[in-house]
Every structure is written in C-alpha cells, then in structure tokens.
C-alpha cells in the first residue's frame, strides 16, 4: 500500500521559508496571501498489512519528521 505523509512546522515555530514566500508574492501580483507554511510531502510504498499504520507512525517519529519542531499526519491508501 501507499502512505502519504504530511509534515508541517509546529504552530508557533518560525517558518523562514513560508515567511519569505509570503513576502515575495505581492511582487508577483498575488495580494492578500497570508500564513504561508512550508512543510514536506512524502510518498512511500510499503507492504500491505495491519502493521502498516504503526510502521509509518514510527518512521515519521524516527526519521521522516523532526518531532521537536514538526508535526506530522499521514494517510494510507490501498491501490
């Protein structure tokens, strides 16, 4: 099955990328955009099974996300 992982900077944590994008958008003609936050989107395939959710959760904790400054969510998709 496939896992889709969404990683975002924790609330209250500075997001310099988001901020910089936000500040540059008006010059491109996009007004009124706010709260830009840049995170990661990771897709991966793993063996089907009941343990898949638990495995992805573990992967996020250990490797994919940095729990000190990032939050994560994920969904499992069976194709």
């Amino acid at each position: 099955m496939k896992a889709k992982v969404y990683i975002t900077p924790k609330a209250g944590i500075l997001d310099p990328q988001g901020l910089t994008i936000e500040r540059s958008l008006p010059a491109l003609g996009f007004e009124g955009v706010s709260n830009v936050r840049v995170g990661k989107y990771i897709e991966l395939e793993l063996p089907d099974g009941d343990a898949a959710g638990e495995a992805v959760d573990q992967m996020c904790h250990k490797l994919l996300a940095n729990p000190i400054i990032e939050d994560f969510e994920f969904e499992l998709v069976t194709e």
């Binding site: 900077p9 924790k10 609330a11 209250g12 944590i13 500075l14 997001d15 310099p16 901020l19 910089t20 500040r23 940095n66 000190i68 400054i69």
Partner: protein, 753 residues
C-alpha cells in the same frame, strides 16, 4: 500544573529566596509578574555571571592593541592602519543537545550578531566542538545535525567557517559542547558600541518578529497562571533564519556607513530585557519602551513574554530623532520589520508600557549590575594527583607502526575534511591558508598583512590538571599561530564546565581561569571577552572542564605564511624544544591504554615564548618551509601529518647525542633512550617540527642561538621512517598513513561512498 502552583513564583523562575529579597530591596517593593520574569533572567547564571564574575576578574584584559576588552558584544583588537579585528566566542551547548541543527545554527546566528553589533563585517567563523564517542548513534546524529546547522547558517550568511576543532570523548556523551566563534573586520573610526546615550533619542527594534521562542522557566509560570492555555504557551525551539540575518547584517553596516546609529546591540539571551537594560546601563541612562509596538509572530503574548522572548535575528539601536526616517528607510530597503519602540530617558529606570499602561518599572543598575555573586568552597577532586604515572605503568606495545596507524585513525586526530567541506570555507576569497593546517590565515584585501585564527580546548588534559591544562591550551593556541608565522595578539574564551555550585567543579573552574590568566599574561595576549557555560552535566556527570581559547594573531606579510606539510626532498627536519613527552593525558594513553589518569606535564612558558618567536622570525625571513607543532598523538603523529600533507616521506633518526649540525647546543628533551613509545607518542607542550632547506641551516642556527633546536632527519622518499638510538620503530608508506588518517572519520560516521 497543580504541583507547581505550590511553589512561590520566584522559585519557579530559578531564584533563591535571598535573591528574591534582593530584588524586593532594589525595587523598594515586591516586583510584579513581568518585573520578576525580567529580573529572574537578568539575575540568572547565564546573564548575571553569578558564579564566575569574581574569578573572571583575574584575567588580563588590557594591552596596547586592545581597543575593547570584555564588557561589550565583542572584543576589538588594533591591527594597524586604522583597521581592527572584532572577535567573540559563545557556547550553544544546551540548545544543540535538544535540536542539533537549529541549536548550532542559532549559535552561529547569535555570535555573528555580536560581531556586527560592533560595526564589524564578519570575515570568519570557527567551531570548536566536543561530542561523545561516535560509536554511539545519538552522537552521530548530534554531529551530523550540528555540522549541518553551522553550515546552513554560516554558508548562507557568506561567512567562511575557516577553522575549529572536534573532539570525541566519553565525558561529552550526555552534554555535547558546541562553541562557535566569529571574527570581524572593522575600520577603527567605524566601531559601534552598545552604549545608549542622549535622553530623547529613539529606540529602534528591527529584524524578525517576536514569538515565544526559548521562553524557558517563565513559561512554567505562565502555565501556572493560565492553566487552560498552557499547551499553546509551551516554549518553542528557536529556529534560525540566516536569510533575515544576512539582510540584518547588511542593513546594520549600511546604517553604520551612513552614520545613523548612536548605539547598536543584538538581542540574545533574555531578549529585549537584557539588550535594552544593558544599553541603558552602559550609557548611565534610562529607557522607556512601549511593547505594544513590537511586531509579534504570535497573538496574545503576555508582556513578560515579549520582554524575555529569545526570537532570533533582532537588533536594537539608538538613533537620534533627526535620523529616524533615514534609519527606517534602510530597514525598508532590506525588507526588515522596524519600529521605534521607545526612547532614552535620564531616569536610569527601565519602564515598560503596554500602550498607556505601565507594566514594569525597574532600576537599570540593579538589573544589570546587582546580580548576587557566589564564591563556593573549592574541593580538589581525587583524580587530580601530584605525580605522573610511572613510565613502567604502561605496558610496551609490540608494533609501533600499528600504534601509529591506530592513532592516525583516532577521530581526535584524523582528517576533518568530512566536516569542513560542508562549510563554505572560501567565500570572501581571503584564505591564505585553507582549513586543515595549524590555523587559518586570512589575507586582508589591499594590505600586505593577514590575520591568523585558531581555537584550542583540550578537556582531557584539563580534567587531569585544570591549571596546567588551561596554560597548555593557551600555549597551544599561540603555538598554532606562530607556526604559520603569525604573532599572537589576543584571546577570546569559552569556559565550559559542570555545575559550579559543587566544590569540585568550582575548583576546576578557578584553577582553569587562573591558569589561563597566567598564560595569557606570559604571551601578552589579553582576554578580550568570552562566555561561560555552566551546568554541562547529565545524571550528575559533568563534562571535562573545558576552557576553549580562540586566539588571533597578525602576520606581517601574508605571502610568507607556512603550513605543516613537508615541501621538498632533501629539506632538513628539525625539532625545536626540550619538553619531555609523557603518556599521561595523551591520546596514546586513551586509545592504546584505555585510561585517562596521572598528571600532565606543565608548559614552560618562558621557553615556549622564545621558541615561538624563533619560528615566527625564521618564517618571516623565509627560512622555514614547514612548521607543525607536536600535539595530539605526539611526535610520530606530527611527523606523519606533515608527511601526509606534503606528500613526502622522511627519514628521522633520534640519536641520544644529537649532532648539533650548527643548530643550538642545548640538549633536546627528546632523548632517544626514553622508551620509544613514550618518545614517539607521548605529549608535552613546547615542541615544534620545522623543515629548513640545507643551505639555510646555518642561518637558522644563528637565529636559534642557544635554544634547543636539533636536526632529526630529512625529507626523503615516500615512506616515514623513524629510528631512535639506531633502532627502527616506524617504517610505513606515506600513502598508507594517509589512507588511515584520511578515511577514518567517514568510516566511523558510515558515510562512505
């Protein structure tokens, strides 16, 4: 939360009852909640130097080249021609242990701000680092994160990271030491200071927005008060934004050039509280601020949160009302948030308003100067002994070739390319000597002179004898500079220790500070500033006492600088110095004999000074073709490193009666009848290996006069061969040594291929 409610607020903020009483006395009343939070930080160990201040007074801080000693954001050293060097070192140990990437990155951010707060353009970063053993995966994670963090921030800023050091020892497993140093260049008539002056002048806050970053103890207080919102109010890790800092740097220097600034100060520990009160204190003035004007990143921040937030990339300036518009325009040009948040007064009080409401009113002097100081009864730890271990304590190794290879592979000795290639070490195009040598040398564009930079800190030696260790650290830093041809001028230091409330730690601290003072006096390298990091302990286990010295020197003619590598076949190898190498405290003792014990040899400061002068003079006369000091791993590793770096072998013969060959006639401390392992791998401060072309040998000997300087061999072939008293102990192809030394770190990190 309920448990914390029972303790008084000051205690939650880390203050003792007596300290709280002191605050009440200074205030003439009980402080309110915002005031208490501000006091608690200003009177913390970090800002108040409660356990270190009395001892730091022992450090020599004055000299004819010192334009600014401790007390400002950075020290400043006169290098002639209206130019000056600003430098400072700082620790980011605790933040890096929590989040290595951001911890180290914001460490760089902080120290760089200290440099441009003086009006100097940063020209170099240095990074002395100490970790636990790399065999542990957590340590690898820390190393990788820290190095990437330093790289990410320094590289983006366009400041080359040109030197530093890395040690791995068990003692740092619970607490890594992440020190960072920044060096800047400034024209003397453009130096800025943090002294707020002129009642009626305006206070400008610019740079990033303010969030809840790094609000530590105080947020516990907050949660006690606001139970329901406690979750949102937890302290957040500081994230660095090097891009904003780069703009901040350029904006500050532009304002400097336009003469817009009365005073400039960065926001570091304790944020707005410390920056504003320290500026006011330096100028003997007061300050009024309306913190409702502070641009916030998060809503609903309490006044105390705004006052103590440690959000990064912010600066505070004092400007005259006439130049306000121009200063704001520069911020606008660099796309930085900027607001006038207050004005200078003559009240000597720091008054904080939220709109019209007065939320805090504190005496500036009490905040900045009146933190109590403590002197602890020192206790000499049992492991500090008077005598070195007897030589026969050490079993004889069988194969010294193998010993050499093992030591070359030690992560404390091996090639650090893996680290410094992640740093942009060439930006600004000033590197006369690239990383990997004794010290970095940067030319100064448009001048003949150059600046040499190094950091040194050897906790293991300081653990065995903090006074001798600190003396040796200073001597080694000076020696590293001298080996390039640079004259040492000044020191900045970072004192990394455990909990100073413990007698043994206090003893280590006191001894180290005094030892450093002695050596700095001897070398005429005053201390221009520094930092103290206490409480580097976990589970009651402290790190090695680790004074780290950052030293700068001046090279008269940057074209003449020297590196450790052997240059040409036939060059004569000389050993300078008469110190007797010993195993105690050495890398040899640790790696081969698995212990750290005994007593390290003391440095002979007078002899050391003479030798260093000799090396510098000989380099500047063009007589020396390579110079390398005998340090970690002893003479054998020193020779191997010169061979590897130069790509040449050498044949070395240590005779018991050295043929003086026209060089001095004092006996060398290296006596070939000493046990060969101790002779070759033992360590002692005060030994330098140089190579000289045959035809210059006589001239060199004249310079050396009666200093111990002995011909020990020749640059020759592609093997390193070392004999002592006619017996061959080492015979190894340089390529093999290079392989061991060059691949060790990557192999340990598992980052090969």
């Amino acid at each position: 939360m309920s448990a914390t409610n029972q303790k008084p607020a000051y205690e939650l903020l880390g203050l003792k009852e007596k300290e709280y009483q002191g605050i009440c006395d200074a205030m003439g009343r009980e402080p309110n909640y915002t005031e208490l939070a501000v006091f608690s930080l200003m009177w913390s160990e970090h800002c108040g130097y409660k356990h270190s201040r009395p001892l730091l007074k022992n450090l020599p801080t004055e000299g004819e080249r010192i334009l600014q000693g401790p007390g400002e954001n950075a020290g400043i050293i006169d290098i002639g021609d209206n130019l000056a060097i600003a430098m400072k070192i700082e620790s980011h140990n605790h933040p890096s242990a929590i989040e290595p990437f951001q911890g180290a990155a914001t460490g760089i951010g902080g120290i760089v701000r200290d440099i441009f707060a003086m009006g100097a353009r940063p020209i170099a970063n240095l990074d002395p680092l100490h970790f636990g053993p790399l065999e542990k995966s957590r340590q690898k994670y820390l190393l990788e994160g820290v190095v990437e963090g330093i790289a990410a921030y320094g590289n983006c800023m366009g400041i080359p990271t040109v030197a530093g050091e890395i040690h791995f020892e068990d003692a740092y497993e619970g607490n890594c030491l992440i020190n960072v140093m920044c060096v800047g260049l400034v024209e003397q008539d453009k130096i800025l200071r943090a002294k707020a002056e002129g009642p009626g002048n305006l206070v400008l806050l610019f740079g990033s927005t303010t969030g809840r970053d790094g609000i530590g103890g105080a947020s516990i207080l907050a949660s006690a008060e606001f139970d329901e919102t406690a979750q949102e109010k937890r302290p957040t890790v500081q994230v660095g934004d090097p891009f904003t800092e780069k703009k901040l740097l350029e904006a500050c220097l532009e304002m400097r050039d336009k003469g817009l600034l009365v005073a400039l100060q960065d926001l570091g520990a304790a944020g707005l509280s410390s920056s504003s009160s320290e500026m006011a204190s330096k100028g003997g003035v007061g300050i009024d601020m309306d913190i409702s004007k502070v641009p916030l990143r998060e809503q609903d921040m309490e006044p105390f949160e705004i006052m103590i937030s440690e959000s990064q990339e912010r600066m505070l300036a004092v400007v005259t009302p006439e130049l306000e518009t121009e200063a704001l325009a520069v911020c606008e040009k660099w796309d930085l948030d900027a607001v006038i948040i207050g004005k200078i007064t003559d009240t000597k009080r720091m008054r904080v308003f939220l709109g019209d409401e007065l939320v805090a009113d504190m005496p500036v002097d009490a905040l900045v100067d009146d933190a109590p100081t403590y002197i602890v009864e020192a206790v000499r730890p049992a492991h500090e002994v008077d005598d070195p271990l007897p030589e026969d304590h050490y079993r004889h190794p069988t194969d010294l070739n193998e010993t050499l290879t093992t030591l070359l592979r030690s992560p404390n000795i091996c090639d650090k390319r893996w680290v410094y290639e992640q740093y942009d070490h060439m930006v600004q195009t000033n590197n006369a000597i690239w990383p990997g040598a004794e010290s970095a040398v940067l030319r100064i564009k448009g001048r003949q002179s150059g600046v040499a930079l190094t950091t040194d800190g050897n906790g293991r030696r300081c653990y065995l004898d903090p006074r001798r260790g600190a003396r040796a650290v200073v001597a080694e830093a000076a020696r590293n500079l001298s080996c390039t041809g640079a004259k040492p001028l000044a020191v900045t230091n970072c004192l990394n220790f455990g909990n100073p409330e413990k007698g043994e730690i206090y003893h280590q601290f006191r001894e180290a500070v005094e030892g450093m003072a002695e050596a700095c006096l001897a070398f005429e390298t005053p201390v221009t500033g520094g930092n103290v990091s206490f409480y580097n302990e976990s589970f009651g286990q402290a790190v090695y006492p680790n004074p780290v010295v950052g030293m700068m020197g001046l090279v008269e003619d940057v074209r003449l600088v020297q590196t450790p590598g052997f240059k040409d076949e036939g060059d004569v190898v000389l050993l300078l110095g008469n110190a007797r190498p010993a195993a105690d405290g050495s890398e040899y003792q640790l790696r081969i004999h698995g212990e750290v014990a005994g007593r390290i040899p003391d440095v002979d400061l007078e002899m050391e000074k003479k030798l260093q002068l000799l090396v510098r003079e000989a380099i500047l006369e063009g007589l020396v073709k390579s110079a390398h000091d005998v340090s970690d791993g002893g003479l054998a590793c020193c020779l191997a490193e010169s061979a590897i770096d130069g790509g040449h072998g050498a044949v070395i013969e240590l005779a018991s009666s050295q043929a003086s060959q026209g060089a001095g006639d004092q006996r060398s401390g290296l006596q070939a009848d000493q046990r060969p392992d101790l002779l070759l791998f033992g360590e002692a401060p005060g030994l330098i290996v140089v190579t000289v072309e045959e035809k210059n040998l006589e001239h060199f000997a004249q310079l050396a006069q009666d200093l111990p300087a002995h011909v020990i061999g020749r640059v020759e072939g592609d093997r390193l061969v070392v004999q002592a008293a006619g017996v061959e102990h080492i015979n190894i192809p340089v390529a093999q040594a290079a392989q061991a030394w060059g691949t060790a770190l990557e192999t340990l990190i598992g980052d090969v291929g």
